[in-house]
Symmetry: C2
Subunit: 389 residues, 2 copies
Amino acid sequence: MLGNFTYCNPTKLYFGEGSVKYLKEELPKYGKNVVLVYGGGSIKKNGIYDAVTAILKECGKDVAEISGVMPNPTYDKLCEGMKIARAHRADLLLAVGGGSVCDYTKALAVSVHCNEDPWEKYYLRFEEPDCEIVPVGCVLTMVGTGSEMNAGAVITNTAQKLKIGHVFADESVMPRFSVLDPVYTLTLPRYQMVAGIYDIFSHICEQYFSGTDDNTSDYLAEGLMHSLIHSSRIAVRDMQDYEARSNIMWTATWALNTLIACGKDTDWEVHMLGQAVGALTDATHGMTLAAVSLPYYRHIMPYGLAKFVRFAKSVWDVDAAGKSDEEIANEGLACMEGWMKELGLVMNITELGANEGMIEDIAKATLVMEGGYKVLTHEEIVDILKKSL
Amino acid sequence: MLGNFTYCNPTKLYFGEGSVKYLKEELPKYGKNVVLVYGGGSIKKNGIYDAVTAILKECGKDVAEISGVMPNPTYDKLCEGMKIARAHRADLLLAVGGGSVCDYTKALAVSVHCNEDPWEKYYLRFEEPDCEIVPVGCVLTMVGTGSEMNAGAVITNTAQKLKIGHVFADESVMPRFSVLDPVYTLTLPRYQMVAGIYDIFSHICEQYFSGTDDNTSDYLAEGLMHSLIHSSRIAVRDMQDYEARSNIMWTATWALNTLIACGKDTDWEVHMLGQAVGALTDATHGMTLAAVSLPYYRHIMPYGLAKFVRFAKSVWDVDAAGKSDEEIANEGLACMEGWMKELGLVMNITELGANEGMIEDIAKATLVMEGGYKVLTHEEIVDILKKSL
């Protein structure tokens, strides 16, 4: 059943090599005061910082900077940014970086004019902004999160040991524009590239493994999986393959901009498990997802068997002849495991810094979602995490 | 190769049964003067007219009407509408109907404030609007064209025997919002339903059968084809199946809102052939496409063999073992033909009112596109049309 839904995604995307030049078309639409947001400084080494600041200067902008946004952006860092953006009377927040920088900037956009504690309002009470939202633009340098075309923002509260994502309902939280230049992603270390690829795959799976019906969203999800599997195999052999990297970049955008969730239930339990691992280990997001996925999917498979059979046949071309549904489904997950190993993903949380003594804390930090094939009990979460060690 | 592109599609979609109620959220965003645009009056029989006008009244709108928009909207009708919209000082044009009504309304949106002859400017010189564009909203009652979420508008000039589509570059020509209620499509005659289904399939094929690369757009196109084939088979057995009809409606939107054309060449020669047939016979759009498709694809198949092989294997699950590429590709087209016959489509232009004596005129009215696997000569067009008789 394709349920009722509203879809609106107005982000303007400039895709392809050299598309940073389109900043010249976008920047004049906003006021003079721009806050440039970026991460650990790699953009200063690869020339992206210089390219962007030259255009900001050419457009006559008055620029303040927030630098050092970390891979799992913290609430403390958000508070620091709020002071800078308020003092600068920001007309536009320009994120230059990957999903973390982009997520952080969107969280900042709804916090600058917020009169309450943003962590409590947006991340504990999951309320929507009722203040002015500062426009966000994005120059993407890393692929995976889809943050460039959605209204989601994950923030980590280190004091509370919580990493929580909020997908805002208001489309004005989405970036007004995003520049997607695949060349900007070519200098990324292999570890980050493959973690990003798995983040994309996980986004698709989280929306695919739920519901019982044959709706358009699931067929689109399968199209995205086929494209990603195809291009990822080329990219791990040759990280400089522009075509593969550009298709991966484009797949990432559509894997998490609400399209493939339209009219259907979604799960997100793998992200809840992964984010709990991330909150306690500060491990790379995509790797935390990779490390918990197979134990999770093998656990829920009996509860959503028909979908796992479809996954095996449609995505992995498993030959079903003479096999039971369980055998077909298991073969599909084995194909997925083989592909994950081909990519060189981290397949357990031990390598990410977790150990048996941390399992109880990670389990406690894992939010339980209700849209998947099985609502997990605490014992099931502990069991899945132990199998992920 | 995923080429450079810009993507922006801000139309807000309200999808599902009962979603006409969202007009109450949208209408207050625009001024008092609304021009309601509709077709032959079926909306007065099925209650949609009453539902929409009640909300217009509730929102305090001053409403003028343009009724009688025909299936292939004419330039004469456009001129008539321009007078009404100008006299009413339209703040919003509200289309209630199928693709023809929606196309007409978008053509009107760029013509109301145009100081030149819109036919010459937009349809012969293919220029972009440099005047104010009147906002368009849409309540969709028929499925197929994708007009509800794109900037395209096909207009027929009966005097010149030309039916020409212009896809405007400016996203502000796109409907600001569209209401998509699958229930509104349930009363459609079978002939219109299946013509719409084939129109959708043709839109996907026009974008799929071009280029040589494995890019994300083609994988998404395959996902849409799978969804459409699946749901269409259910819908022809039971036209009242809400789930099938809703998935068909949703597939139609994404088949022609620019997504699956991103970064790749597209063809559109089937539409040029079909539109030429339509200009001379006034036949239903989707049926004109169905009647010329197989002769066209069988003609160009040798020039894009690899893609036709992929189509056979990925879309129709053709078993490739022990077969030549030609055999696989032919088997794919045979599967497509079988599905078309299952739907009950018109498979030749004779049934649509064309005859051998009209071939030369139809061929002359056929625009030659350059993005497909073979740029057709006049002789080839004549040959394809003869095989379509």
